[in-house]
Every structure is written in structure tokens, then in C-alpha cells.
Symmetry: C2
Subunit: 188 residues, 2 copies
């Protein structure tokens, strides 16, 4: 159920996803959904977003363990651009659509989205510190990186092209490449 | 009707906005809405987004007529950060929520969102050319600027803080300040 819900939220957002569709696609008995999630769709959505966020967070953790932030973002963009094209631009960020929909309507859902974004920002900031940025710069560039990717994915999906993602990855590489290292070199 | 619809889409998004609420808040007779918009909510939403987009486009045109892109973005961020706070983070981009919601569900709405984003990108790119950037760079930095602002507004609304908007404005100023001018200086 949670997996089906996460997938539907990813593609359609919160409001377009109804309990009927979740029941139908998960093939779970309706009673068992309401047994596990007595508060209905909002509660199920919170769990689904937590899981989708955690899966993405695990992927980001692994990606950033192995390479510096700029290289990791480049790789992410290459993979995600293909994913977007393959899905006919149905796949974007698994959190963003719901975060905007819930911003004014559901504090519980908004909070889980905020926590997921916060976890991604933390991972990026930690990696950037290891790449040689100072604490304050690492935090700022983490926010910049997330904003660039989230914003570009909106433009990609609206315009059905992956060019914005490629543009922002290029910009990020130009802006940050060498910067962290040179800081470290100066200090070392 | 169009104004009420635009305002509801801005705050709530597409799916949360029903014809009942539009009828109630616009105080228009239901029959007249269906007379003017026989195809119902989708058609009304397309018109409302066109108008909301055009209002924003006019504001952007005016802002970019009077100052370089970096200064204009700084000013936009200062004004918009206040607007977000004053609205308890109900106000974000008037297009983004609906663009994501419609990406997989309504080609007509997706297309009008794409056209609005395209108009904003064109205005930014034209201004950046006047600021001294080459055609290709101007186009790329226009996409970067839009992505930064759109992405930051998602983070602001999810986390109920305006810090992301301020962070990306600072980054943009650092990245672009002097660049266009120095290009022009080198060429001049």
C-alpha cells in the first residue's frame, strides 16, 4: 500500500491520488488500509512520503560517499534526465509536488516534506564540508544545489525537455569546482 | 471569476480548487461560468493561469527595464520574502504548483505553464544580454535564475522560512556580479 501510494504521489501529486485508486492498484482489502491507517489518506501519504524520502536519502548518501558533491550532482542529473525522458516527464522529484500542494492544506504532510528536504540539505552540506568548504558556505551551497535541482525539474516537466537540468548542473560545476579545494589548500 | 480562480490556484493548486469554491467566492451565477467556460474547470484554469502569468510577466518586464538582472532578482527576493511571510507561506509562485500537478494530467494546463515560464526566461535572457552576457550564457543564466527562485520557493514553503530565497539571491549575485560587465569590457 505504502509503495503504491508513494508511486502515485510521485506521478500525480496528493490531490489527484484518491483512496479508491490506492485500493485498486495495491490490491489490498479496503478494510486493511483503514485498519493500518485509520486517519485515511493523509496518514497514508505521510508514511509514503517518509518511505519515498528515505529511499532517496539512502541513494543520496551512497552517491555522496563515493564522490565530491559536484561530481555527484552531475551523475544524478545524467541519471535523472534519462528517467524523466523515459517516463515521458511523469517522474520528477518525489516530494516537490506534494510539498507545494500541502503547503497550505496539511501541516502533517508539509512537515514530512520539510524533514526530507532537510535531510537532503544536511547530506549535501556535510559532503561539501568534506570537499573543503567552510561550514557556512557548505550550508549555503547545499541550499543552492537543492534549489537548482528542484527548480530545474519544474521547468523540465512543464516544458518537456531536460535542458534546464543540464544547464543548472553545468552552472553548479562552474561555480563550485575548485572553490572548496582552493579553500582547503589555503588552509592546509 | 478569472481573478478568483487565479488566486485560488495560487494558494491551493489545481486539484484542491473546485468549481463550487470558484462559484462561491466569485459570487458569479454558476450558469454564467459554464456559459463563458463550457469546458469547465480546466478551461477556466488555463485562462486564470494566462492572466496570472501575464500580470507577473508585466511586473518582471518593468523590474528588468529599470535595473540589471542581479539587482532585479535581489529586489524581487526582498519583496517576495515579505509576501511569503505575510501570507504565512500560502503564497509562492503562482504557476509552479499547478505546473507540477498538471504535468501528467492536463496537456492544456501544462502548456500554458510552459509558455509562462518561457516568457520569464526570455525576459531574463534579454536583460542579461543587455548586462553584457553573450547570447548562450544569457540563456543559461536565465534558466539558472528561474530554477534557483522556483526551487528556493518550494523549500521556503515546505520549511516556512525565507532563508532559501535569501541564500540563492546571494549566490546569484556572487556568481554573476561583474561577469557580464567584464565580458563587455573585454570586448569593448
Amino acid at each position: 500500500m505504502i509503495e503504491v501510494t508513494a508511486r502515485l504521489l510521485w506521478r500525480q501529486g496528493l490531490r489527484a491520488t484518491g483512496m479508491d485508486q490506492i485500493v485498486r492498484e495495491s490490491k489490498a482489502p479496503r478494510g486493511s488500509i483503514y485498519f493500518h491507517f485509520p486517519k485515511g489518506k493523509e496518514q497514508l501519504a505521510v508514511e509514503a512520503l517518509r518511505v519515498a524520502g528515505a529511499v532517496m536519502t539512502a541513494n543520496i548518501t551512497e552517491a555522496l560517499d563515493q564522490r565530491d558533491a559536484v561530481t555527484a550532482v552531475k551523475k544524478f542529473v545524467a541519471v535523472y534526465a534519462k528517467e524523466m525522458e523515459a517516463s515521458a516527464f511523469h517522474h520528477g522529484c518525489p516530494i516537490a509536488t506534494v510539498a507545494l500542494e500541502a503547503a497550505t492544506t496539511s501541516p502533517a504532510i508539509r512537515e514530512v516534506c520539510a524533514a526530507v528536504f532537510g535531510a537532503w540539505e544536511d547530506l549535501l552540506a556535510q559532503r561539501m564540508e568534506r570537499d573543503g568548504f567552510g561550514k557556512k558556505d557548505a550550508r549555503k551551497y547545499a541550499v543552492v544545489t537543492l534549489s537548482l535541482l528542484e527548480g530545474a525539474m519544474i521547468l523540465c516537466r512543464a516544458r518537456r525537455t531536460t535542458r534546464p537540468l543540464r544547464d543548472v548542473a553545468e552552472h553548479l560545476a562552474e561555480s563550485l569546482r575548485g572553490k572548496g579545494r582552493s579553500t582547503r589548500a589555503r588552509r592546509g
